[in-house]
Symmetry: C2
Subunit: 332 residues, 2 copies
C-alpha cells in the first residue's frame, strides 16, 4: 500500500502539502500541486480512508438500518436512499435489524462504531422513548423513515397512514359496502394503529357504528392474513368487504377465500395497503394504497446528507399514499 509519505518523498514536499492537494486546499502553489498530482498518479496513491476517519471523525458515508435486506418494500427504499446519498457524494452502508429490538440496537452500534456521518433508521421495535434517548446520545444527524415520532418531527419521513386507510375504506363505502371487516397489523406498531384509525374514521364519517367483532389483529404476513380471515369467518359471515393492514395480508386473505369457495370480488371485496410488486400481478389484482416509498427514500437520503453539511434544505416530510383501484373490489 502506498502512503502519503511515499508521495511526499517522490514529489519532494512535506506530507502536509500532499494532504492539502488531496483535500483540495487552495493554499498550494499551482506548480507544486502539479508535482504532487504527478507523484500520486505515478504511485497509484489512494488515501487511506480509515486513517483519515480516525482524525476527522468523518467517513463520508451514511448508515441505514432496515428490518430486512429482502422484500420489495425495503428494496425500493434502499435503492432510492442510495441513489440520493450518492448524488450527495457520499456512500451508503445498509444493515438489517430483522425487526427485532436487539437487532436494531446491534445495527445502530455497528454503524456508530464505523463512524457514519448520519443515520437513516427504519425502526420497528424500538420505542419512541428509545429513539429519543438515542438521539440525545449521538451527535450525528438521525433521520427516521416510515415512522412518525412527534418530538422528532423535523427528522421523520413518513406517510399519512390514517388518511390512506380512510381513503381506501371510503372507496368500499361508495361501493355500497356497509359491513366492512378489518385485519390490522400488530397493534404495538404505530402504523397498524393509524391504519385502523383511518378505517374507523371512514365508518364514523358515514355514520356506521364501529363493531369490534369485525376487527382482528394479525402480523402483516401472508399466512397471518389467511389465518385472520379464518378467525373472522368463525365469528360472522356478514361482512362483504375487508380492509387489510397491508398487501401481504390481503394476499393471504384472497388465497384463503379462493380455497374456501369465496369469490373475490363477487362475494368479498378486499383491499390492501402498500402496493407491493405482486399486488398488480395476482388474480384478481389488488386494490390498494400506494406508499411512495421510493420518494420517501430519496428525501431521507437528502435530508441525512444536508444535515451533515449543516445546510438546511427544505425536504418533504409527510407523504400521502394514493389509491390504486384494481379488480379485488366491486360494488354490491
Amino acid at each position: 500500500m502506498v502512503t502519503i509519505k511515499q508521495v511526499s518523498e517522490l514529489a519532494d514536499v512535506s506530507v502536509a502539502t500532499v494532504s492539502r492537494v488531496v483535500n483540495g486546499n487552495r493554499w498550494v502553489a499551482e506548480n507544486t500541486r502539479r508535482r504532487v498530482r504527478d507523484a500520486m498518479e505515478q504511485l497509484g496513491y489512494q488515501p487511506n480512508t480509515v486513517a483519515r476517519a480516525l482524525v476527522t471523525n468523518r467517513t463520508e458515508t451514511v448508515g441505514m438500518i432496515v428490518a430486512n435486506l429482502s422484500g420489495p418494500f425495503y428494496g425500493d427504499l434502499m435503492y432510492q436512499v442510495e441513489h440520493s446519498v450518492r448524488a450527495h457524494g457520499k456512500h451508503l452502508v445498509v444493515t438489517s435489524s430483522h425487526g427485532q429490538l436487539e437487532g436494531e440496537l446491534d445495527a445502530i452500534e455497528f454503524l456508530l462504531k464505523r463512524k457514519v456521518d448520519a443515520l437513516i433508521l427504519q425502526l420497528d421495535s424500538m420505542s419512541d422513548t428509545d429513539i429519543l434517548s438515542l438521539k440525545a446520545r449521538v451527535s450525528i444527524p438521525l433521520v427516521i423513515v416510515n415512522r412518525y415520532v412527534p418530538e422528532l418531527s423535523d427528522y421523520c419521513i413518513y406517510v399519512n397512514n390514517e388518511k390512506g386507510a380512510q381513503q381506501v375504506t371510503d372507496l368500499l363505502l361508495t361501493q355500497s359496502h356497509r359491513c366492512i371487516a378489518c385485519i390490522t397489523g400488530p397493534l404495538f406498531k404505530q402504523d397498524s394503529r393509524d391504519r385502523l384509525q383511518g378505517y374507523r374514521q371512514a365508518l364514523a364519517n358515514t355514520g356506521i357504528s364501529f363493531q369490534p367483532d369485525l376487527v382482528v389483529e394479525s402480523d402483516f404476513t401472508e399466512a397471518g392474513g389467511a389465518d385472520a380471515l379464518k378467525r373472522l369467518l368463525k365469528r360472522t359471515r356478514d361482512f362483504t368487504a375487508i380492509v387489510c393492514g397491508n398487501d401481504l395480508m390481503a394476499l393471504g386473505v384472497i388465497s384463503y377465500a379462493k380455497k374456501n369457495g369465496i369469490k373475490v370480488p363477487e362475494n368479498l371485496s378486499v383491499v390492501g395497503f402498500d402496493d407491493i410488486v405482486v399486488s398488480s400481478y395476482i388474480d384478481p389484482s389488488l386494490t390498494t394504497m400506494r406508499v411512495p416509498i421510493g420518494e420517501m427514500g430519496e428525501q431521507a437520503g437528502s435530508l441525512a446528507c444536508t444535515m451533515t453539511e449543516k445546510i438546511q434544505t427544505p425536504v418533504k416530510l409527510q407523504f400521502t399514499p394514493t389509491l390504486i383501484q384494481r379488480n379485488s373490489t366491486q360494488s354490491i
Copy 2:
C-alpha cells in the same frame, strides 16, 4: 467519547493492559482483568473500530456488491449472506453497482478503502479478465457469486444454468412440443449463453435441429420479454412453447400474449428461470427453474469468512436449479 486511556487511568494500569483484556489476551492476571472490566463498564467504554482497523488492517466486516439493492433475487441473496456472515461474528456491508462497469469498479474501490476483510461479488459487467486482475491486485479473499470464472473456480458459487435450461426444455419436449422458441438474456452475459446452450442441448438430444429464427436476444426485463415475443411473432407463428431466459421476461411474454389473444398455456406454453416471488402468484402461475439463491448466499458468506480465517472448510460451490412445474405449460 471515552478512550482506552481513560479506562487505563481509572483502572490504574497501562493502555496495553486494557487492550489485552479487550482483545481477550490470556496473559492478564485475573484480578487486574476484573479491575479493567469494571472500569470499562463504569465508563461505558466502546473500543474505537476505526483506530483498531488502522493498526490491524482488519475490520471484521465483509463487503458485498450486488447489481441492485432492490429486487427479489438480490434481496434473498443479501439476506442469506448477511445471516451467514453474522453467524461467523462478522458484519456485512452491501453496496450496489447498478450492473454497470463503472458502478462495479466504484463499489469495489469503496469497499477496499473501508478495509473489508473479504469481498463477495455479484458482477455483471466486469469481464473475467477484469476479475482476474482484481484478484491479483488485492490481498483479501474474493468470492464470486452467481457466476463461474474458470481460473477462480474455487471461489465461485454458481448454478448450473445449462443443465437447468436443458431440464426445463426437456419438460416441454416431453409435453410433445416440437417447435420451441427461446428468448435469451443479453448474450454478453455468461448465464444467458449457458441457458441458451441448455436449450440447444435439449433439442439436440431429441434430434430436433436448432432454428436460429426461433431465438431472440433480450435484456432480462419484463418489457424486454414482451418486446421479444412481439419480434418473434413477426417472424413466425409456428412455435407452441417458449423458453425464457428468466422469469421477468416470461412475465412480459405472458402479459403480451394475453393482450394479443394468445392463451397461455392453451395456445402457448411458457417457462421461465429463477423462480422469483411473483412467478407463483401470476395467472397462470409460471413453470420455471428455481435457483437456490438463498443457499448460495449462505455458502458465499461462509466461504468468505472461513477464507479470512485461513481455515478451509469445504463449501458447496455448484448448485443445481430445480424444476417447478406450474400452470403455464401443458401438453399438446
